[in-house]
Amino acid sequence: MKTNSEAAGDSRAVLDRAALAGIREAVRPVIEGRLAARRGAEPVRREVLVCHGGSCVSCHAVPVADVMERVIGERGLADRARVVRVGCMGLCDAGPLVLVVPDGVYYPRVNESLARRIVEEHLGAGTVLDEAELTWEGPGGEVLRSREVPFFARQLKIALRNCGVIDPGSLEEYVAADGYRALEKVLFEMEPGAVLDELKRSGLRGRGGAGFPAGLKWQFVRDARGDVRYVVCNADEGDPGAFMDRSILEGDPFSVIEAMTIAGRVIGSNQGYVYVRAEYPLAIERLGAALDRARQAGLLGCDILGSGFDFDVEIRIGAGAFVCGEETALMHSIEGKRGMPRPRPPFPAQKGLWNRPTLLNNVETWANVPPILLRGAEWYAAIGTARSKGTKVFALAGAVRNTGLVEVPMGISLREVVEELGGGIRSGLPFKAAQSGGPSGGCVPASAADVPVDYESLQELGAIMGSGGLIVMDEGTCMVELARFFMEFIVDESCGKCPPCRIGNRVMLNVLERITRGEGREEDLDLLERLGDHIRTSSLCGLGQTGPNPVLSTLRHFRQEYEVHVRERRCPAGQCRALLTYTIVEELCNGCHACTKACPAGAIAGELKHVHRIDQDVCIHCGACLNACPTGAIEAR
């Protein structure tokens, strides 16, 4: 079987429109075949798509793919089957995940010996390995297989359309999957005004958090006075718990490059920057390779596709500062300065990078642009709710069974996301709450999980859409401790420029620490609320203005839990160490002395190979014994 670049002819040449059409014709059937796997189809030739998203790579997806390639060679199956290393398929929990197309059979947690069997039995003999296939128990107890599994069946992929389908390193595959058709349309068929109009009518809103209408933003930059303009992609995905931007850059880097090129044409800019976190080495590597390839093919640089339009994109790597996700801070960082925000206005649309008009969108927003221009605003606007159009990618993590990335239409209920796509709670404990929007967001309690997910309804609940990180929590998570965790994050990441954020959040953290240590005071809850309100209204940038949200939203929905901490000195979820009582379970203790050595207070006594005992009067509730015990004999309540 030829590789796709061979099928498309000389892969090193500069491409014109005819060449793009040629690639589409040659490679399109391959991509169609992969997409057909979502419906199921009769196989003639098979491909094995091995997920090479960051998460699967750290579960050893690379050696799995290597083994498959080797065995295909050994068994002489090269003309019937082939391995493709694709981007993130979404179900990180099942990594390394493998999909055989066009049959549409998923194999989860593939190791090297299973990889060998998949090649020999499925690719070679055509027999599906039933016992290794991904299955799920349906609502009526029936067994659902592979693509019927709700995690996949319930999704609608627009931003993630190519992730897990194409090889992120192959321009040919991207082109065959309708890549660069939107750019061609913008360069040769549409007026910039018509592009803006299309974007505005689509109702696309910024996916980075604030949800500002994308079309309007583009318009502002186009209308701003100045001769030099910049296009920036915000890939400083700092919200802990969100990883959709990383997955898009790793799985479909060309779509971001194409969208930025389109924007360059529309707003009149010749230079773009992608600001990526240093914590994402794989995304940086793949984006860099895609930029090189696009330049080489003439899809970046001078006179793109013979249109006379010049555009190029450079990568800027962050250096670990959460606040750099804020747009003015991000631009300072690109300029080589400390990433401190500045007051707005002037907005970046007027004065951005080096004081020039600058268009800033986040990765997911960019990835939505080409399909909208290709399929039309009406198609996009038909998806979603009245004021939130299209789809949203959520990163499901925490206590949920299926951790990973899902893309769902706006307006779906949180409960559907958590219980159907997410598969419910792993531990079997009741679903308690979902935290949306990271340190700037808030909690949605299980009791409110039936509201449709869109920008407005989440805001009403005191949470925010944010970038789409969704941390699911069961009854084993203490909401006070969670609030303390986020406040610690904010205090750490505050740039220190404005006092409400620098000092106010610090004071809030002190109060929360006091409460989790069991030294809370009756007036503390009101103090938190009052202080939080002040900080929200008086801080300079988004970080400070939203920093108190996790505290305020947990106070609103779980006030009783705070009260138990303060009045009864008790942590109902069993997470606040200082409020727990530690005992040794006799049946599990093997008398190894690990805990006696670890205890800083000398509170544990017992002879070697005999059951140990903790003296509760001496115990300082530090939990060191809990960590040290190799047999799990320490019980904390």
Partner: protein
Amino acid sequence: MSTVSSELSEQGERAFFGACVQGGGEPIDPEAYRIVDRWIERNPGGRERLIPLLHAVQEHLGYLPFPVQEYVAERLGLSPIEVYGVVSFYHFFTTTPRGRYQLKVCMGTACFVNNAQTICDVVGDLLGIGVGEVTEDRLFSLEQVRCIGACGLAPAMMVNDEVHGHLTPNAIRKLVRRLKAAARKEREARKGEADGENEQ
């Protein structure tokens, strides 16, 4: 007025950096300066080059010693305090050497609700160091990082550039044992090489 204050601040800077350098006392690989020179030659431009340049230096040295920061400032036409301001602002940059194995425990939300604090405590206890410290033999350093985006694998930790997920205290004990063994082997191999050369 302005000259006086600028002189004062310059003196202040020198005193500050002087103190830092004495405090460090670490001999600096002269290659560091050549890296700066070569990088600047290859990448023409202005101050926006500062952060990429610091990345390049830290990638080679593992940290950013003050004399090298001063040199970077001189080459880019900035004052040392501007460079130090940037270095101290960003978590990624460090002014102290790190270990051969840099353990970065993820403290993102997903890891946090999956008991990342316990994981971090166990690692620290095993190595006998706290967060931000390095073992005496320079083998291990321990840091906490914000979300590494491996939320599906929580709790997770990076060892240099490699992600380890679904950690438990026992898995960490095994991992640390393995790393120690690997380091021992490496040291012996190096020693063997050196001995071999000496014999010749």
